[in-house]
Symmetry: C2
Subunit: 347 residues, 2 copies
């Protein structure tokens, strides 16, 4: 006998990456930005008043909407603020999926999608990326909610915007493009969110803006969709400090661009270094790489590294058993990792 709905009772739940409490570790397992947030963010935090903690937040986070609209060149009514990108994912699955309304997505991808579908008791249509016609198959499935993570996690691959525009035009339901990692790509899909009445874009300040601890993401879509999503979100889903901090962060585009450029340069270096250590590493458009262990056992390396306080991500999932997802760190952190990998290789 259980008090829970059956779908909840049967669910294993999403397992977030390990978050060690120590700070003297090399933490390359959950795709945090290795550099601190903008100094303007810290200035804002240290100027928070007791009055702003005492009163409820602005329900729509209007100062952020205004600032983001200016930076992105879109109207502010195209924006919904959320408690991290995950909150927007949750809102979308609650708004569009139920037992009669499936979600569709290509795999492997962010493993939260299947958990959110299960929480809605919603069927899923999973199309492997390795099928050459995966986009056509998603179009044919035409689910009430189709999700494409772009750049994709954990592979780091990227689909051109024009292909997703074609998909959006074919779908009868919503196309949610999860752009949590788009700050590290060469292209984004913002124009699709303006042009198509069925496209929602997800953005996050966790990665490109070094604010994983503050929980701030947002959605971009036409106002009619935004209005519907607002009905589903908690009234005060983002707190006052997060709104203030996120506004300061997105307003400092000079800092943001320099930060992102440094990570992309380091990513290219890491791809070369890992390949020299006999890993198979496809091009990444994100702030991590997915490295295939050709001559070694991925799970074993993951464990050996953890014993040295070096954390990377291992997924015990089909197609991922022989791979490690490694976040791009500072050159110093990455050097520690590379040296450890070289030692483990027995050279």
């Amino acid at each position: 006998m259980t008090y829970f709905r059956n779908n909840i009772e049967e669910l294993a739940g999403y397992a977030p990456g390990f978050q060690p409490s120590q700070t003297d570790v090399v933490k390359l397992n959950t795709n945090e930005n290795p550099y601190p947030p903008s100094p303007k963010v810290m200035e804002k935090v240290h100027n928070i008043t007791s009055e702003s903690l005492r009163r409820y937040p602005a329900p729509l986070g209007d100062i952020f909407r205004t600032a983001a609209a200016e930076v992105l060149g879109i109207p502010s009514d195209h924006i919904i603020c959320t408690n991290g990108g995950d909150d927007l994912l949750t809102i979308c699955f609650r708004a569009f999926c139920d037992e009669d309304r499936p979600a569709a997505y290509p795999t492997p991808t962010y493993s939260l999608y299947s958990v959110l579908a299960a929480l809605q008791d919603s069927p899923v249509i999973e199309i492997p990326y390795e099928k050459p016609d995966w986009l056509d198959r998603l179009a044919q499935a035409s689910a009430p909610l189709t999700v494409v993570c772009n750049p994709n996690a954990p592979t780091g691959s990227h689909v051109p915007a024009r292909k997703l525009a074609e998909l959006a035009g074919q779908l009868e339901g919503i196309l949610l493009i999860d752009e949590a990692y788009v700050d590290f790509a060469e292209e984004n899909c913002i124009q699709l969110a303006r042009d198509f009445e069925n496209v929602i874009l997800l953005r996050s300040l966790s990665k490109g803006y070094s604010l994983a601890g503050i929980r701030f993401g947002f959605g971009i879509a036409q106002p009619k969709l935004i209005e519907g999503l607002l009905k589903v979100k908690d009234s005060y889903n983002v707190d006052t400090v997060a709104i203030e901090v996120a506004t300061a962060a997105i307003s400092d585009q000079d800092y943001f661009k320099a930060n992102v450029a440094a990570i992309k340069a380091e990513r290219e270096r890491m791809v070369q270094e890992l390949r020299a250590l006999d890993f198979e590493v496809p091009q990444s458009y994100s702030n991590f790489v997915l490295a295939r262990c050709v001559k070694t056992d991925a799970r074993q390396i993951h464990q050996n590294l953890a014993e040295k306080n070096i954390y990377v991500r291992y997924f015990d999932l089909p197609g991922l058993e022989d791979k490690l997802r490694i976040s791009i760190g500072t050159p110093e952190q990455d050097m520690v990792l590379l040296q450890a990998l070289q030692e483990l290789r027995g050279r």
Copy 2:
């Protein structure tokens, strides 16, 4: 044609209280604490490091769980941290309700419950408090989720813990006791959450701890229920600043007790003053009073006050049309309100 589920499309959505952006107002409309949070909270905010913003939060908010467990005298595995009390309500409706699993609650009450039920496409069983046997009727309905707001909003009334213990023993489903306002009552139900495997308590730091802006609430229940609720919550639902700040707040019990005592004393004074102005004011166990306008029009008074930058809450709902919900402010704020009410009365 809509992209949304029908229940979402048909829903009006929850309307949060008006949050004016100015600070030079008398804001008694959304039950914020009129006093600032503990000085230890502000010290914590000003010592936040960039490193703690950069990294993901602790998924379970363990430092808060430990601190709250000590203050409340319960094991820390009885606690789930949530993004305000509303997040726990959302989690519970998602965990226990669907189209075949109704929610039951006495009315009038917090109007979010019916919205959350509608988002789950769940039927509701609403039992008016004015029925003398409302507790028996809830027991007979024995819904998968029964919610009792205690002290109740917007009435300020309170049900003894022993009556809710009796109800918990009769129900086959969950009894969620929403104690968002319990800090201002003479009794709480924490023992029920320890004794009954089907009781969940909701607590909030928005009111008693002056932290509405930071969004922090928590649930108390036996570990088996907590484990199920954790599967439904977003992995990183509470941010690092909120966890730090909430921990500092709950650890400063001396400040908390003095704050609450001041509000309770002022509440008793306000009840007398409002009665002297011909309002009907029942005893309140919360940080607000529900005042019935006997000789005047509540909606009109609400509007006249707003024109003077004095905000109280008016609900255009059956049984509430002739009443105003007034949060307890500082003696200075309350004096401004009382003077305005006296003027409006034409004396």
